[in-house]
Subunit: 224 residues, 2 copies
């Protein structure tokens, strides 16, 4: 059984709630579960079943694609209030690509069972409309990520990444290894390390074991 | 006025036709026009207005993104029977990226006025769902293009491109310059020319002015 607070959260997040009849509401509530995923957990992977629709209550999920030789490309991140449909991509006609989803920090979610969502979607056009909107929103995020990777040179991308991280954590001290940064950027550790050393030589950043400190944020920004 | 044949084509292509009332059908027919675009014409560009929803009757449209320094990435191609919503992206909430659309051959289309489609969409959820479905289908195509570019090495990509072209034109004689191939692949002419010479050296293809002939299709295929 969902707690009262989670019931309320579900009703406010699902904009089609008012279009459901009483029976549909009951089925939805009965087939939604509360879950917590620890930082680092893999929640969905390409060969997984279609686990269901995820509502993120707190924490962060990262959605990425993975090549055969292990290269990762981050597509987008989901935070509190976001909905994930690609964990239920079997429900959406013509989604033919596979993604991986990891918890980037301890993350609380509500999970709506795929079969239940699929039933509601076939009964109620507003449920389908909600699902399609969620996917289309993410299309724009993916296009942005793609343009970053394909059109910016690597020094611009690394500078943009460091500035983003600083803004996100509200600190000029970024506690990520070169390995982690490479993973997030869909690059190789060697490439990141080489550019980091170049940035350090230019007096833009200072490197230390397990992290990097931004020294001259204005010049770093001008690179982007 | 639309010809009878085009009226029929419109009604069969728009799966929401049966969900429209009489007045909505009349408005739709009155605001759809027949157009022909010559090979090479630019139909939609990033700074263009929202021209409307396109139904491709014959020919081919190519949708691509363009970087500030002129690099092109082909996202997908549309042929007879396909619908293009990104030429009316103003109608879809949260589409924040811009694309370019060119006619790759002489192309006949039906164009539904943006304002009309927008009105119908706000009145009828089935119209909106149709539009969202079209966009979601293209999301998968874009993911495929992205994985090709990001994950395959260039020799694999070029081999795949040549095989695709041969299948599409039903001929092992591909009449495209290195410049054109580079444009379609989102690469540089020098990179294409270098790999082409390598393929020729390997006995996979034969080069001539303005084109390339596939000599050993089996070995070329094995590269992919």
């Amino acid at each position: 059984m969902l707690s009262e607070i989670n019931k309320k959260y579900l009703q406010e997040s699902l904009t089609f709630w008012n279009k459901l009849n009483g029976e549909q509401r009951t089925v939805l509530l009965d087939n939604t579960s509360e879950m917590r995923h620890a930082k680092g957990a893999n929640i969905h992977s390409a060969d997984n079943d279609c686990i269901g629709v995820i509502l993120v209550k707190s924490g962060e999920l990262r959605t990425y694609i993975l090549s055969e030789n292990g290269k990762e490309i981050t597509l987008y991140r989901l935070n509190a209030g976001d909905v994930c449909m690609l964990s239920a991509s079997c429900l959406i006609k013509n989604i033919t690509f596979d993604v991986h989803i990891d918890a980037e920090s301890d993350t609380d979610i509500l999970l709506i069972n795929s079969y239940t969502f699929s039933q509601l979607q076939s009964q109620n056009v507003y449920v389908e409309n909600f699902a399609l909107h969620v996917v289309v929103d993410k299309f724009s995020d993916v296009m942005w990520a793609m343009q970053q990777i394909l059109f910016l040179s690597f020094d611009q991308r690394l500078a943009a990444f460091l500035i983003d991280e600083a803004l996100k954590t509200n600190s000029y001290d970024i506690k990520l290894t070169h390995e982690q940064i490479a993973k997030y950027m869909g690059s190789a550790r060697e490439v990141v390390s080489r550019m980091m050393k170049h940035f350090e030589g230019e007096g833009l950043i200072a490197l230390y074991r397990g992290g990097v400190k931004i020294v001259d944020k204005n010049r770093l920004r001008r690179l982007v």
